[in-house]
């Protein structure tokens, strides 16, 4: 979620969800359901956290290190060193193609000129997603399936795609 998306109404809604989850945790006896609620809670807290981080920095919000709640917390080391958050790296298409998620490399994809890290994104198992592979500019593919869905704001942006 970007700072500009984060209106007061959204914040109220997220806080309400957090409070609801907490109340629910007191009464749910089942450990499976409790785990689901905890996951939901972690997700919502990380949303609030990411916006707090975004507000405290002055760099462009699109390439801030936004952490989705469902992504594993520890970012593993990689052969090709992942870009440090907020470094505003610029990738050519050729450079991007090396981040294909193979041979121990991270998996990056570009959408609308921004490069995102999908290495540990659940829907990108083995750096592939519904027949698509990482290391590419997937702007058109994204638009044809996910237009209007709040997906990009949950991914970690690592840089920009160099325009010709």
């Amino acid at each position: 979620m970007r700072v500009q998306d984060f209106s007061g109404k959204n914040l109220d809604r997220i806080m309400a969800e957090i409070n609801y989850d907490i109340s629910l945790l007191y009464v749910v006896p089942c450990i499976y359901t409790r785990n689901l609620i905890l996951n939901h809670l972690i997700d919502r807290i990380s949303m609030v956290e990411s916006v707090a981080v975004a507000m405290s920095q002055t760099v462009q919000p699109q390439i801030l290190p936004l952490q989705p709640g469902v992504t594993p917390i520890a970012d593993p080391p990689a052969l090709m060193q992942p870009m440090a958050p907020g470094t505003q790296a610029t990738f050519t298409l050729q450079e991007l193609s090396r981040f294909d998620g193979k041979g121990g490399n991270p998996a990056y994809v570009a959408v609308n000129g921004i490069v995102y890290d999908v290495t540990n994104n659940a829907t990108w198992a083995a750096a592939t997603h519904f027949g698509l592979t990482a290391g590419k500019n997937l702007t058109n593919e994204f638009a044809s399936c996910h237009a209007g869905q709040p997906i990009l704001s949950k991914l970690r942006a690592v840089g920009k795609l160099e325009t010709m």
Binding site: C30, I31, Y32, P72, I73, K102, T119, A125, A127, F130
Partner: protein, 302 residues
Amino acid sequence: MNTSNGSITCPEYKARLNTAASLVETVKTQIRQDVLRKRNLVWLELTGCSGNIISLLDGSNPDFKYLISQMTHFIYNNSLLASEGQNAMEQLFSIPGSDYILAVEGAVATKNNGLYNIIGRLNGKWITALEAVKTLGEKAAHVIAIGACATHGGVSAARPNPAKCVSVQSVLNRKVIKLPGCPCHPDWFMGTIAHILLYGQPELDSRDRPLLFYSTLIHDRCPRRSYFDKGIFAEKLGDKTCMFKLGCRGPVTRIDCPIRQWNQYVNWPIEDDTPCIGCAQFGFPDAMEPFISYNITRGVKK
């Protein structure tokens, strides 16, 4: 929470596992009491592998014998019918005009006007699968597409798709209930049929899958989910941790395998150390490949 036998059973999961069984049980009782009437069921097999009817024969809640004798008038299935040739086709085409539920497995071959799949001969004339599904589909009370091929083309429509196979929905201008899966679990079909008999069409999601069975991602109920959250990943088949790095499609597949399990509720792929290949997701198999990958991103914790 039930802690008998030292294991913890979530009451919600237990209830969900029994969804199909309890619906079928209600049907049984009501039919016995003459409250509910049996309905005609026609099962068409188009371009596929017969996997769904074989899967259904493995059903235990109830078993197949009960379905064909007590729940429905099972009118037609090409693999199981006693009649053959002209008699079988007459039986099939005597159905339109009466009340019936149409179940379809297999995709519809459309190349050369359907000539790639001839399902029989009626009065000397070839009947294509395309013609049969259109004729029977338009007039059925409900149409249920069973398995990957019928719901979205599946394996039959995989590249290069020489027979130009498409889903049942693509050739019918009406609501088609979709039960994707390769194959479809007997419970998903039995539960849907029982729901139709009792209450009519079950509640469907935006892609016409019954929410009874297709509401939650495999990933969300996976017994190995905690490994994913902690970033502990399997490097090879046989490892007991999360198989995300090997290409597990659990995170994009909506179905209840983790709790329902297969072969009369014995086991399921992940419990047997193989990644989910997304067989119940639209686009399978092409969109779910590679099924396994060893050349992967770093991040496996020893």
